[in-house]
């Protein structure tokens, strides 16, 4: 498989703090690569090193098969990035911002191409309005448009759904899937929304305190068709007694004073629900918890 990004023993030291510690990972062509970690784990620092905003203390980075240090401009021509909160020039319009940044990429898109890009992110009707009048979500979309205007091969997205409403989040998700499946783009995406990563990532890297915890395909890490269900009952003791006599015993993962957690196929949730009623277990709540979230909390807590 074609390696688009190859990071080897990457380290960044800020005075006393080691933000990234001997990190190695690969992003393959066509991947939607989920980059996960808690706040302060070193995700942004890593991304900034990939984008030459920060100089590594040690280690090497290759992108498109070329060493980043010596081929910076050539590599960056083919990368589109959204870094944290995408800030643009508030005194310019969305259209003018897009045009300006396109020119910095060495491209001169036509009016039609610019409007098309704004259409994709849903800002075509606000093209000529000053960005100062935009909501945070709209500014985010301008940032995404800027990242895509020059048709890059590699797209790096650092928290791209920040500030977006559910529809906006869904739109970005669909856009990423489309870019990956229909246009063959390689996407590296870091996000706190594990549910989103779970839905789109083909490969996942989890880091904590600057170190790699695990890197593998999504399938190998968790079964996306499985889920965690947590119930809260009025009488947990009685509920446990009943469940121990039932077929659901093997699905129980853990229990506390008030809650019982199951791991089962998504398709089994309705059956569980009706069986609990039959067993006269009185529910306060029944909540699905994503398996990735569960996995993430387990590995980062253990670390």
């Amino acid at each position: 498989m074609n390696e688009i990004i190859k990071v080897t023993n990457l380290t960044k030291q800020f005075k006393q703090i080691t933000a990234v510690n001997n990190l190695s990972f690969n992003v393959n062509s066509g991947d939607v690569y989920g980059f996960l970690g808690q706040n302060g784990a070193g995700k942004s620092t890593t991304i900034r090193m990939l984008l030459t905003l920060i100089q590594p203390t040690n280690g090497s980075i290759e992108i498109f098969g070329l060493p980043l240090q010596n081929n910076r401009n050539e590599i960056l021509k083919n990368i589109g990035a959204v870094i944290e909160k995408p800030d643009v020039y508030k005194y310019l319009s969305a259209y003018d911002n897009l045009k300006l940044f396109a020119r910095l990429n060495g491209t001169r898109p036509t009016h039609h191409q610019l409007m098309q890009q704004l259409e994709i992110v849903g800002l075509a009707n606000r093209a000529k309005d000053k960005v100062a009048t935009f909501s945070q979500g709209m500014k985010q979309r301008v940032g995404i448009a800027i990242a895509l205007i020059h048709q890059p091969q590699l797209i790096i997205l650092d928290e791209p759904t920040n500030g977006l409403d559910p529809q906006g989040i869904a739109d970005i998700r669909n856009l990423i899937i489309k870019l990956s499946k229909e246009h063959g783009k390689t996407i590296l995406i870091s996000s706190h929304l594990l549910s989103e990563i779970e839905q789109i990532a083909t490969r996942i890297l989890i880091i904590d305190k600057g170190k790699k915890i695990i890197e593998d395909t999504a399938t190998a890490l968790f079964n996306p068709s499985q889920t965690i269900v947590e119930i809260e009952t009025t009488n947990n003791e009685f509920a446990l007694q009943q469940l121990q006599k039932s077929k659901w015993l093997t699905s129980i993962q853990q229990h506390t004073t008030n809650t019982i957690t199951f791991k089962l196929d998504k398709s089994q949730i309705p059956t569980l629900n009706s069986n609990l009623v039959e067993m006269q277990i009185q529910l306060i709540s029944i909540k699905p918890r994503h398996s990735l979230e569960d996995y993430f909390l387990r590995v980062t807590t253990a670390n």
């Binding site: 960056l76 300006l100 990429n105």
Partner: protein, 291 residues
Amino acid sequence: MFTLIQIELYKIFNRPRTYIAFIAIAALTIIVQLGLKVDGKEYADFVMADLKNTFSIDGKIINGYFVCYVLLQLLLVHVPLLIALIAADMISGEANIGTLRLLLTKPISRVQFIIAKFIATCIYTVALLIWLAILGLLLSIFIFGTGDLLLLKNNYVVQLQQNDIFWRYTGAFLFAAIAMITVAAVGFFLSLFAENSIGPIVATMSIIIVCTILSTMSLPLFNLIKPYLFTTHLVTWKEFFDIKINNQNETIAGSIQNPAKIINSLTVLIAHIIILISITIFIFKKKDILS
């Protein structure tokens, strides 16, 4: 590089803050011109009071050339602040609004980025001075006409014939451009170290104020460092308005009393620009962008 400069100029001249300087210069110029139009004679009498004890001075003292000289004396002390408003914001402003990190992920070398920004800053500075020249010189000539320029120096008086003045103003404005670009270089350099433009602007002005004090006070300790301070050389544009005399004490038209001083000042100022921008490039190349 040309594209980068174009983009930087586009950003500068699309920003409302940029026009504060142009408006300020227009306002100050027009106020001074109005004042001199109304009370010019009184002003001239006041300035020449000592000379008029012994001499009678006839002729058009308050003319366009005189008014422009007064304006330059006043404004070239304050124009540095207006330059700092933009220059000190060039890098810190981008960091402040968050666009710096986006710009530096584009396929442009950091060296090109800094040079393009600085050239754009220089173009802004020159534009400001052209504006000052139009309002200060051309408009003054339009309002007050031309005539001989009578200048009172500390120890002597200089009278320049009216057909021997315009080229001096050209030289003076060109010199002032280099001087103001030096101020811009200071602001630009300081802009590197902040993520907010207020800090570099205040720092630039503080440096100018402190160095001006060192340049103007006649203390033996200060005299040692004066020749190396850029503020000492900011006012050398005045040397264009001093003239040589022959053995018969007649002025030699087209001459400058001390051209070596102008060349020396230009050398010091250009050296400051080169050193400051070189250091800026060196630091910026290696700087981690955390904004």
